[in-house]
């Protein structure tokens, strides 16, 4: 797992140094975007939410004490921002204003893009049926490849709790993937 953010980087980020921000973005954009796609579900616009994650991180970098690793800190912010985004998305759908996010990947052809989007939404929909705690454990351990111990640190729960969540979550995820037609 990534170590604590170094003090020079912290100071540069706190001072609003554009080059430090660029490095910070480049280093973490793939992780944050992937977390948002996996945790956010099919109804949130991943790029928008990821932007909010970085905006929140930069706003809060002044109070980041380095007590946890940089990645753990960012993941905690991502969880909160995603949770808010999911709530907003539910509200928008509730009042009939939801717009299904459009694919932003313009590098692929239309057919390839549609197929990839369908596959992504199937997995996101399956993940979205899980309880939040189960979803987070599945994403970190089964999809991201962290150990249960590392996931426990990122989720701020004991390793045993992660294992228990995985046990329950995997059963539900298997059923949900099957329903979404993700091949065994």
């Amino acid at each position: 797992m990534t170590g604590a953010i170094d003090t020079d980087t912290l100071a540069a980020l706190r001072s609003g140094d554009a080059r430090a921000q660029e490095r910070f973005y480049r280093q973490h954009a793939p992780d944050v975007l992937r977390w948002v796609i996996r945790l956010g579900g099919p109804h949130v616009h991943a790029e928008d939410v990821a932007q909010d994650v970085f905006a929140t991180a930069l706003r809060r970098v002044g109070s980041f004490r380095g007590e946890s690793s940089e990645r753990t800190w960012l993941f905690a912010i991502t969880r909160n921002v995603v949770r808010n985004a999911r709530r907003r998305s539910a509200l928008r759908r509730f009042v009939g204003l939801d717009v299904v996010p459009e694919p932003t990947d313009t590098a692929r052809g239309p057919r390839e893009l549609v197929e990839a989007e369908q596959e992504r939404r199937a997995v996101q929909s399956a993940l979205s049926t899980l309880k939040e705690a189960w979803r987070e454990a599945i994403v970190l351990v089964d999809l991201e490849g962290y150990t249960a111990r590392e996931a426990g640190e990122m989720l701020d729960v004991p390793e045993g709790t992660v294992s228990s969540r995985l046990h329950h979550g995997r059963k539900a995820f298997a059923v949900a993937l099957e329903k979404q037609g993700v091949r065994r």
Binding site: R59, V95, R170
Partner: protein, 426 residues
């Protein structure tokens, strides 16, 4: 079926892995953020000094062709015309600033003069809104209109040539249709209305959906029978109002006031306004939150917006943020949403102001609430603050925090150190 197969997990990983193009898109958007923030600051400053109109455009297409980028100042009379995205043309004799331009939206600030907007309703765009000081907002429901602001006379006007726009103002909401003109401000500041009230428009009634899981549960509308109310006939035909009304998540004017007590549908305007607040960033977030609280002080969402306001203030003005939170908490001793503000007040006092004396009471209250996953963290901070203040309960709180089954690992060293220090003092 006990777990997904390795094949399913591989497929799940591949499907949810962002492509390089998506990562690049995010990086581009992130690089634009500071400029957008700067321009929002500028817009607020201009609003204070002179009347400013804000034209908000949300576009699908990120391609702006030769359109000026964020920060560009445009004298429309000199430029001749300003093309924004594939659908919007601005002409007239006006001073403008393009405050943001991205796939998420474009914002233009009009500081003086008249801007005429022509919008292709079939093009790739979502909404087009003009917001003015004094609580006036003009939202596009039609296709060609102009907004004027005379900075010397402090008088504004909305004139519609084709289609229809919706105007929100201190006098209420109304539609301004083709051939009509609506003015505000000026000597005597008497608002002249030559337009149809929006309330005549048929309400959009939507059946609530099942939430995805417990994390998404939303309180049902207060009047579920509203879903059975047949919408009243529309007073007039318009080019594309249905499409625009559905895709615009930003403007509350889509939800008109009920036309009669008998057929009163649930008024969602506060929910829609809440969406605007919640989606905004930077100084605009704070400004919209304050506008919301002025307009909907009794909304069920007001505590959430109060929390947004406190959170938005905390970065730059933590003392003011904490004072607002404390004032709200003092005024609402038994409010069910109290936890929201407590969860902000405590860390602002502790982290931003380094004032454990003000943080401790809020942490204590949070601990008393037995708030699920955050309980151990709140307990730990309460203990650390109590220890710092040499509070008589510090020992008990530290013991409780250290023995809590979910004691946060990151705080354990500090808790142990505080416990040792306390024991050695005694």
């Amino acid at each position: 079926m006990s777990a997904p197969t390795p094949t399913q997990l591989d497929a799940a990983r591949r499907a949810t892995e962002p492509s390089q193009a998506e990562v690049d898109g995010l990086l581009r958007a992130l690089r634009e953020q500071p400029q957008r923030r700067f321009q929002l600051d500028l817009r607020i400053a201009l609003s204070a000094a002179a009347a400013a109109l804000v034209v908000g455009l949300l576009l699908h297409e990120p391609n702006y062709g030769d359109a000026p980028g964020p920060g560009a100042r445009v004298e429309l009379a000199e430029a001749g015309a300003l093309r924004l995205g594939p659908s919007i043309s601005l002409t007239g004799d006006a001073s403008l600033i393009v405050t943001s331009a991205s796939e998420r939206g474009t914002v233009v600030t009009l500081t003086d003069g008249t801007v005429q907007a022509e919008v292709d309703p079939t093009g790739a765009w979502r909404t087009f809104a003009v917001r003015a000081p004094e609580g006036v907002t003009v939202r596009v429901v039609g296709t060609v209109f102009s907004v004027s602001w005379d900075a010397e006379e402090e008088r504004g006007a909305v004139a519609v040539e084709r289609g229809r726009v919706a105007v929100e103002g201190p006098e209420g909401d109304r539609a301004v249709a083709a051939g009509e003109r609506w003015t505000w401000g000026g000597p005597g500041a008497a608002t002249q209305v030559a337009a149809s009230p929006v309330a005549e428009e048929a309400p959009e009634v939507v059946e609530p959906e099942e939430p995805e899981d417990e994390a998404l549960r939303v309180e049902p509308p207060e009047a579920p029978e509203a879903a059975q109310v047949a919408p009243a006939p529309r007073p007039q035909a318009t080019p594309e109002p249905e499409r625009l009304a559905v895709v615009d998540p930003m403007e509350p004017a889509d939800e008109p006031a009920p036309t009669s007590a008998e057929a009163a549908p649930r008024d969602y305007s506060d929910h829609l306004a809440f969406n605007r607040v919640d989606q905004a960033t930077g100084p605009e977030r704070l400004a919209l939150a304050e506008a919301f609280l002025t307009r909907y002080p009794d909304s069920v969402l007001a505590p959430s917006v109060e929390a947004i306001r406190v959170d938005a203030l905390a970065g730059e003005r933590p003392e003011e943020a904490l004072q607002r939170a404390e004032a709200w908490l003092a005024a609402h001793p038994n409010h069910p949403d109290r936890r929201l503000l407590l969860s902000l007040a405590a860390p602002i006092a502790r982290d931003d102001l380094q004032d454990c004396g003000r943080a401790l009471p809020w942490y204590r209250e949070l601990v008393r609430m037995h708030e699920g996953g955050a309980e151990a963290t709140n307990l730990s901070w309460a203990a650390l603050c109590a220890a710092e203040l040499q509070d008589p309960e510090a020992g008990a709180l530290l013991d409780a925090a250290l023995t809590h089954p979910q004691s946060p690992r990151a705080l354990r060293p500090a808790l142990k150190q505080a416990r040792r220090a306390l024991s050695s003092e005694r």
